[in-house]
Subunit: 326 residues, 3 copies
């Protein structure tokens, strides 16, 4: 017997959005379809819909990330929610409050949704398990565990360009071991029935058990790229390069960098993706990052529609559950 | 002859909200009654009313307090006001501007209301005396002087649970001397005709003149708790414990901590209150803070409705005064 | 042949607002006339118009300035835009992103307007040249180059009090060399056909080529003030006073400070202006800054209407261009 996935409410609907492992193909597809509608909103002159009017969304960022925080803030504003940016460093540590005490206070202030970004794996899960039932928790990235909205915006970008997933060959390059993005991408790609998912990177950065997830480990980037429809780079954490097990920047670029020459090994219309910010000359050549096949900035744009979709789905389910219980 | 209370306008209506001393029972009751209406707004799906639409509320926090700042920010947003968070550390000190110069600039930017939090007693008073007549000032806590919105949310919490005040026995425990919360609570409790208000704490932390305010000093917490309807803890400032006159944390807990055993001395339905954040194991046992009789988190929730009430009352009076003068 | 001014779109309309040099008298007058309408909005009870509803304005402040940032934030809110405050210190440096990468991300997040404040001359220009065509850039002050919204609010203040410019004698006092405010004021005053513009200050702080701009350099403040209709002080950067070429505070005040005695040399109804924050007892006597002839705080107030005008004009042109191209 396994514990029920805390992401779902008693009606089996999505209540929190913590990682993609518990979601099935239909649920992933519903998010992508909903995001499709919001992508249109962002092209309109007035980029606003009133779906979350009168709701309060609290950004709980325990780890700095202007890019992700901003994307969530814009998504919330375009849904007409009120946004509360809570500085968790000054508030909780200054007066010695525990995380749970802080959560209780934010619940009591009648926030409706928490966006959680945390340096520790499992933090969003922990918060979802301890939060009041009226509150939706969305994981904005937790340690090396998951970054599910990044995973979904990557899927959205692929689907917009390539349509269905079953015939695609997707290559993920770099530090698979420490990447929450890789973890979420692999989970979504496999669930959506992607034809082939290949991973390649320094031996020390490929987890032994990764093939069990449904991917194939390739020994060399050149072999991995042959026939690829989608190439996903990952950000190499420079902090890690100081340990003996990880190659230097220049060595990494020589062995695994996505150069213009290597790009020609993939299909001519292969997409180049990266969660950003890129280290040019480390994971990817500047000319490739800025080149015709790159959709790196589209990923940023679609991130808003995808986050609007996730936020409105979990909030809508919360409302329908309250109605069902009343 | 005494100077007129600067909290009132020429029509005798509340214009600023600085401390509770100048308010009479009717005025306190009006705030509680108005908050009652807003408590309903916070339970609605769309938690917004348009009362302060197009008004600008500036949060002037000279002292850090995420909890109070957030509560005021949410109250303002639920009244549909625009909120401006002014970082007063960088702005005023970096360019050597005086406080009055800063106030003049904010006035000139046509802000309608200032929420002031300051480490010095009397700061909100000073600002109210020097501000343009069109601006309402609300005290969000000044030094050891007053914290009137905390006082009112405490009264609101008591009234919601206990109805009228005249038959109640309320006990306030701890550092009465340095607590702006205690000062505002005592003022409100006495004005509202509370049957009996008892204070108890280390001898060095009970001001000599406190009985003149209408309270009874008790020598021991056990005696004070007998027959209590409401028990209010106060936050013990750890900074003060380093001085010789204040007991250590463990000594304080042994002599004045609200333990489960001591709680049984009070009436079985006695409320346990605390302005937060609590020091568990110092002022209060964790099990009491989280227990059935605790309304500590309700206090946080009611803080929004009470602040909405105060903000809309002073703003409404400002509008009616402008109309009367026109 | 000169390069086209990047401030204008293909229809010759204002698209960015970087400096006043490229604008002609009609364009400056259009801004002043539009601001006249918004000055009324700021006097209304509900200080809001829906002109920028659904638009996202990003405050990109690379240099701290609470006063200017707040004025832009209020202007955007009163136009009903969504405002995004981007902390560029933590975001761009922490992960080693270049300025251009940061701009690309903000573009991809579908911001509509960037307000840029930067310590380097030319930064707003650089950003306008590299930004996506859909985005409007407004210069909130760049190095020693320009501060065009300050220039326009100064013109607005003068016009409100004095009507037409052709008969006016305007005196600008102080550090002309390093002042972006002086540069923008001189440009606007000359274009608007001001009768006479005089500058006066320490010899080391008057650029040699300044007379080519259409102003007269005066050797002494007393001579410059005779017959003046408008007196504009400039903020003396205390950092500069440590270099040998600039006099000390007290020496500056003795030689160039605007004292009550000196003020009597000007016309009896001369306006006293200053961009703030003032150094009292350095550029100006406190009694003059607070005196009957001072309009220093009016300048702050009018800054909101002027910024609303600039923002709505460039945004309106962007919309009409998109329509023309469609």
């Amino acid at each position: 017997m396994t514990l029920p996935d805390p992401q779902f409410n008693s009606l089996g609907e999505l209540h929190h959005f913590i990682d993609l492992d518990g979601l099935n193909r239909e649920q992933l597809t519903q998010i992508l379809d909903t995001a499709e509608g919001f992508a249109g909103v962002n092209d309109r002159t007035v980029k606003k819909v009133p779906l979350l009017r009168g709701k309060t969304v609290a950004n709980l960022f325990f780890e700095n990330s202007t890019r992700t925080r901003t994307a969530f803030e814009l998504a919330a504003k375009r849904l007409s929610a009120d946004i509360l940016n809570v500085d968790l460093v000054t508030s909780s540590t200054a007066k010695g409050e525990s995380l749970l005490d802080t959560l209780r206070v934010l619940e009591s202030l009648q926030c409706d949704m928490f966006i959680v970004r945390h340096g520790d794996s499992g933090a969003a899960h922990f918060i979802a398990r301890h939060v009041a039932p009226s509150i939706n928790v969305i994981n904005g990235g937790d340690g090396q565990h998951a970054h599910p909205t990044q995973g979904m915006l990557d899927m959205f970008t692929i689907r917009r360009h390539k349509g269905e997933f079953q015939n695609l060959c997707v290559v993920i390059i770099g530090d698979i071991r420490h990447s929450r993005v890789a973890r979420s991408d692999i989970s979504a790609l496999v669930k959506l029935g992607t034809g082939e998912v290949r991973v390649v990177g320094p031996r020390t950065l490929i987890p032994a058990e990764v093939e069990a997830l449904g991917v194939t480990v390739y020994p060399s980037i050149d072999k991995a790229l042959i026939g690829a429809d989608v190439i996903m780079g990952l950000r190499l954490q420079k902090e890690r390069m100081q340990t003996a097990t990880v190659p230097s920047s220049s060595e990494f670029y020589r062995t695994f960098g996505l150069t213009p020459e290597r790009l020609t090994l993939a299909k001519p219309d292969a997409l180049v993706m990266h969660p950003g910010p890129t280290n040019r000359g480390v994971e990817i050549a500047g000319s490739v990052a800025d080149g015709q096949q790159s959709v790196i900035l589209e990923q940023v744009t679609y991130g808003i529609a995808v986050r609007m979709a996730v936020m409105s789905i979990v909030m809508g389910n919360a409302t329908s559950l309250r109605r069902a219980e009343a």
